[in-house]
């Protein structure tokens, strides 16, 4: 009896069922807190025509950027895509669609999607290109946009520690979009640095309860740093 034991032992098991044309929602901010091994598996499986929802699209050669190399992404929903030359090239050639979404709206779209709320009103983006084609409503004298929530066929999430039931804890700012992404997948796959036995994590300290998680895999992470800044090197913000 497997019961609530969600641990799988291979990346192919972790991403089984992913097909061409599906929507994948990925946690991470830049290269911080990204499910590196699950992204690698999507590349190996050669799945195409994907819609990928994530705050960023990695960088050339790392993170979600590797899925651009074989043109596996058809549409990207993100708030900031400025770190990626291949992305720019495919966008300009029309091979890639992008839906730029304000960062807070993107986080809330995921949160709402996982929480069964189909849409919400926000002041973010009123009077800007983001408002085009969207319903606007005045509430208490201020204008708000109606934004629709997001769910996906797969959600791929990176956490620090999980128990076998999928209860998990994120580490530092590697949390970012991961808890929201975790709630959005028809199948949510969690890639972690360490798997522990149920009962080892303090219940009140768990960030994402296992109910949202379908599969857990212990990953191997490079944890590349996008901008290495140290005290000796410079003052804050100097470049």
């Amino acid at each position: 009896m497997a019961g609530f034991d969600k641990v799988v032992s291979s990346y192919s098991e972790a991403m089984a069922g992913l097909e061409d044309g599906m929507t994948v929602i990925a946690g991470g901010f830049g290269l911080c807190g990204i499910p590196e091994g699950l992204i690698g598996q999507i590349k190996r499986q050669g799945i195409r025509n994907l819609t990928v929802v994530s705050n960023n699209c990695g960088v050339d050669g790392f993170g979600l950027g590797v899925l651009l190399e074989d043109k596996q992404i058809r549409k990207m929903v993100a708030s900031y895509v400025g770190e990626n030359a291949l992305f720019e090239q495919q966008l300009l050639s029309g091979e890639l669609d992008v839906e730029l979404t304000p960062q807070g709206t993107l986080a809330e779209k995921m949160r709402a999607g996982g929480a069964g709320i189909p849409a919400f009103y926000t002041a973010t983006g009123v009077g800007t290109p983001v408002a085009e084609g969207k319903e606007t409503r005045s509430i208490n004298g201020r204008d708000y946009l109606l934004e629709h929530s997001i769910t996906g066929d797969f959600a791929i999430v990176k956490a620090w520690k999980a128990d076998r039931f999928g209860n998990c804890i994120y580490r530092h700012t590697a949390m970012n979009f991961n808890p929201m992404a975790a709630t959005t997948g028809k199948i949510t796959v969690l890639e972690v640095e360490e798997i522990v036995e149920p009962g080892e994590l303090e219940p009140s300290q768990i960030h994402t309860p296992g109910i949202y998680i379908d599969r857990v895999i212990k990953g191997v992470f490079e944890k590349r740093i996008e901008k290495e800044t140290t005290q000796a090197a410079k003052q804050l913000g100097a470049n």
Binding site: F29, T124, T173, M175, I225, T229, Q231, Q235
Partner: protein
């Protein structure tokens, strides 16, 4: 003399108050952290999910899991909190952040800001800027007064796609400190040695000039 980037940051820092929660954007706004007066405490919010951003780490304390919204490695200050992106934007959109400092390509006399997109050039995305300008009660915009061709960036109406509407109330440039209200830029201070005439010449939008415009003290 026009202010340097550091001097603009220093003047912004004089607007900080003890106990402020502050979000600093990328560029000149980030430099403000270096000029927080010694006699006050502020907490820096980084929209990737950190309230209480500390210094850059020493080389041996470098941690890939600890970054700011500019994707730079940082540390957590004493008393910091870390949370998810939805929580981060709940505090931003909900008006809980006391002050936001951000850069812009253009601002106009009605408080509109354009900071994220130049059509027909590379579109990188707005990141958190639209949420920040929609949610903050108090925003300072830092920018150069004119572009490198000498054309004003303080306009009667923004020409670029907007980031937010009617949301900017204070602008600190290399030439002046101005308040935006009632459909005009109100000149409050000028940079040391910069004439009112130069500011007027480089302000395309409606400019209200008081009888006496004091020089900034830095």
């Amino acid at each position: 003399m026009a202010l340097t980037r550091e001097q603009i940051a220093k003047r912004v820092a004089m607007e900080l108050q003890d106990g402020y929660y502050v979000n600093l954007g990328i560029g000149i706004p980030t430099l403000v952290a270096n000029y927080v007066p010694d006699n006050i405490a502020v907490m820096l919010q980084s929209e990737n999910g950190l309230l209480g951003m500390g210094q850059y780490p020493t080389a041996d304390a470098l941690d890939a899991d600890m970054i700011n919204a500019g994707k730079e490695t940082v540390t957590a200050a004493t008393g910091a909190a870390i949370f998810n992106s939805a929580e981060s934007f709940a505090m931003i959109r909900g008006g809980h952040v006391d002050l936001t400092v951000l850069g812009a390509f253009e601002v106009d006399q009605n408080g509109n800001i354009a900071s994220w997109m130049i059509p027909n050039k590379l579109i990188k995305g707005m990141g958190g800027a639209m949420d920040l300008v929609a949610g903050a009660k108090n925003i300072i915009c830092t920018m150069t007064h004119a572009n490198k061709h000498g054309e004003s960036k303080l306009l009667s109406e923004c020409s670029l796609p907007l980031t937010g509407v009617g949301c900017i109330n204070k602008v600190i440039t290399d030439l002046a400190l101005l308040e935006i209200k009632d459909g005009a830029f109100h000149l409050l201070e000028r940079a040391p040695g910069v004439s009112v005439e130069e500011i007027q010449a480089k302000t395309q939008g409606r400019l209200i000039i008081p009888k006496n415009t004091p020089e900034m003290t830095l």
